[in-house]
Symmetry: C2
Subunit: 498 residues, 2 copies
């Protein structure tokens, strides 16, 4: 009993330090002046190091271990907390502190190195750091001494319980069923009249429209806000304070809108988590994959639906009367769902997106399951892009160097992007049995979708695993067939019919 | 030597916690949604209590006391730090913890009670809390066991080294020399054609003009920013990140402008403190009074000068061509210096302002130097307002209850407002010997004034006492005659000449 009280106290303290760090990061990403950063790093270094001490200290270890020894006597949610805490601790305490510090330093420096390498489009400038990061990761995995394959251990860090076996099955399905379909679509005649990229869309007006959309999605502004930043992101400290950003590109109005709706999905998830988890390790969304499933659901299943554009094109045209003169619902819908093979993942459309992820997954899999030479990655990258998308990157910038993740040591993260999108399709077909989604959208009643997701997914925070969520919501394990079915139905209609 | 290192470490840690609290307060005052506050209070409660432990803990006490014992062997600035630290500690450790906690609770609750009492304009609703706060303060002062008068101890907390003797001399000068002059001016015919309050001045355009002003004052935007909030304030974590806010009132454009310039003064002070004090107890402006002297210098000596309006009226009219049609420099200058007896301190003009403070000072002096009945304060307040400003408040809201300070236990704070303004006049006459201030303003070279103040005052942060600053800058002790002279010269010209 004393241990439970102690555990609660220590967790709450960690939460407070995390809160402070999170607040400062919001400011850093939205408005802090240049002059803030040097001292900020120093001050936040002190707070981070206190947090690290708290979350790995002997006192915390002792209480977690003692509770772990009597775990069967604890109530369910506390069992889950203790297992999570124990799992993390067991890893961290096995890594020698000096190596951990050296690794943190390496990673801190590598982002800048990656930026420079990307700017010069020269993989050679970055590959030394990349090799060192990978070596550290492999060494750490050995220290963990967990009876599993190295890449599985990394995959589990971003999506609890997911393994190469399941991801292989998933990506094999995509390779077999989706790649030929994508190639067929790419060969079809383009069906959109305009992609709204040529014109210049006033940024203030874009913001006005996105504020309108935010209200249409019933985002609770008393418990959050929307702002701008260089890269869109969602931020939260607890369900009462959930913020998201987007960025407005003058010549890519649809991109601005979908970035906002995507983040709105993440934000709605966080706003709808039950406040009862606030002081526990079970607060916030349960995994990267489930989180992405929500953002993609809002972005693709709602925002890119025909029903959505039937309902909101009028307002869109009201904001941009000149720019959108003569645009029909069908024009807008098709522009929102334009398919085009492209080099850059973050700019990819809904249909080709997972193939970008597949390339990255296959490379990561090789890195951690074979003796692949890190020097060969750009070549391999380019071959796979050619195979799946018929495109050959002309240089490292638009190839292997395009994404920041590896410079931060994030291996195992990428596949959750595709997995989450696939989850969203499976959730979509489940929801359709209970809600007429198109009607809900046309009736401007998205609140009903929010409530459905709150009841089935959001409220539970991290108290359920992604696997439990998928099983309880959809009554079956994750199955990629729904994703393929969704994409084929939608894009056959747009590109291959008539 | 080890003690110095330890002291530095402990101070730096305190700074980091303070940094986090400061960041969160910025967010609270500028954009946090309503839903943030409850949990925020809980989380920041944890951080505050850690900070309290750090800054009063045995480890810190030990190192401060040991360094205090060898203080003569330390270098000057460290001597000053240790004295400051020791002085604070000696007070805090003498107050029993349970009483301190009870007091903090009382104060936290009292702000809301004051708000309600003010809204209902009913002093009786607040006086119980006020009595308890005063009792606590008197008790704490006894605990401190300092050989000085109670009110002197409070005055010293806000303006190091200032005593009732000096304040009495200051306010006696005002009572004797300024009150009759003010009454003469109040009887004179009003000299302003328009006070620019009747019109409706677009808020976006006000902001545009204030941004222009901010640049004219050479505010370094790479190390700070300007935003809006309900009440204007200046905020900083260190000289590299200094922010200030203003608020735009549609029907009081001059008030918006002067609020911005006032905060700009505070902000410029903080931006120009030498970064070498960052990790010490000597960072930031040295006292409330010196700080106010800077904000008032920028607001009154620059912003309300004839030279300023000669230089910037064109731009002002460019932003508001219709609203300012036919306004001359003299019109603008006189509107900016309109004198009017009024009930509310924060809305008072430059000339009548110190009399509001004098009322508050005399009441505080009575509270802590006599057995005055707290029930009688409203009556006393009203009598003094009658005596100095020929106005009788019709109710508690526009009388004794107008200011928040007492509900937060801030006794001894008010007089620094008037003192700072008086400092600014003494500094003004010193600066005039070295700079042709009017020419500088007309040449749009305010940077020269910034530099003068940086060299003489700002750079030193808190490494010098207010008394040292005044003596070194002006070559004499604080002397209220400059303030009276400044006001008489200026307002004789505007109101009593011709």
């Amino acid at each position: 009993m004393d241990n439970i009280k102690k555990f609660r106290e220590l967790v709450k303290k960690q939460k407070a330090y995390q809160y402070a760090l999170t607040m400062v990061s919001w400011d850093s990403n939205t408005e802090a002046p240049r002059g803030a950063f040097e001292r900020r790093a120093e001050m936040m270094g002190v707070i981070s190091s206190e947090l690290f001490k708290l979350s790995t200290g002997e006192e915390y270890q002792k209480v977690v271990n003692e509770l772990f020894n009597i775990i069967d006597t604890l109530e369910d949610s506390l069992q889950r907390e203790i297992k999570k805490a124990k799992k993390n601790l067991d890893k961290i305490v096995k890594v020698p502190e000096d190596e951990f510090v050296a690794y943190r330093k390496l990673v801190d420096l590598s982002q800048k190195i990656w930026e420079d390498a990307k700017e010069e489009s020269n993989y050679n400038l970055f590959k030394g750091n990349l090799k060192s990061i990978i070596e550290f990761q492999k060494k750490f995995i050995e220290y963990y001494d967990i009876d599993d394959l190295p890449y599985n251990i990394l995959l589990d860090e971003y999506e609890e319980g997911m393994t190469m076996d399941e991801y292989d099955l998933f990506f094999n399905t995509l390779r077999k069923d989706l790649v030929p379909f994508v190639q067929e679509v790419l060969k079809a005649k383009k069906t959109y009249k305009s992609d709204f990229t040529g014109d210049s869309f006033d940024v203030k007006k874009q913001e006005e429209f996105c504020q309108y959309i935010t209200d249409e999605f019933a985002f609770d502004r008393s418990r959050g806000l929307m702002k701008t930043s260089v890269h869109p992101f969602t931020w939260n400290t607890h369900p009462g304070d959930v913020r998201f950003t987007t960025r407005y590109l003058k010549n890519m109005v649809l991109s601005s809108i979908f970035a906002a709706i995507h983040e709105l999905g993440h934000a709605t998830y966080e706003q709808q988590v039950d406040e009862k988890w606030n002081d526990t390790l079970l607060s916030g969304g349960t995994s990267m994959g489930i989180h992405e499933s929500q953002s993609r659901f809002y972005e693709n299943m709602i925002g890119r639906s025909r029903a959505f554009w039937e309902t909101h094109l009028d307002k869109f045209k009201q904001v941009f009367p000149t720019e959108l003169k003569g645009v029909s619902v069908e024009d807008a819908y098709r522009a929102a769902n334009k398919v085009e093979a492209s080099m850059i993942r973050v700019e990819a459309d809904e249909l080709t997106y997972p193939l970008h992820i597949m390339v990255r997954y296959e490379l990561e899999r090789l890195i951690f399951s074979s003796d692949i030479d890190i020097d060969d990655l750009p070549k391999l990258w380019n071959e796979k892009m050619e195979e799946y998308l018929n495109l050959t990157p002309q240089n490292d910038e638009e190839g292997i160097l395009q994404d920041v993740h590896w410079s931060g040591g994030m291996f195992g993260y990428f596949p959750t992007y595709a997995l989450g999108t696939a989850y969203s399709a499976q959730i979509y077909y489940t929801m359709k049995k209970e809600l007429n989604i198109d009607e809900v959208i046309k009736n401007r009643d998205i609140q009903l979708i929010n409530e459905w997701l709150k009841n089935k997914i959001h409220q539970f925070g991290s108290s359920k695993t992604p696997r439990e969520i998928m099983l309880e919501v959809t009554k079956e394990e994750f199955n990629p067939k729904y994703y393929v079915r969704y994409l084929k139905e939608k894009y056959t209609d747009i590109y291959l019919t008539k």
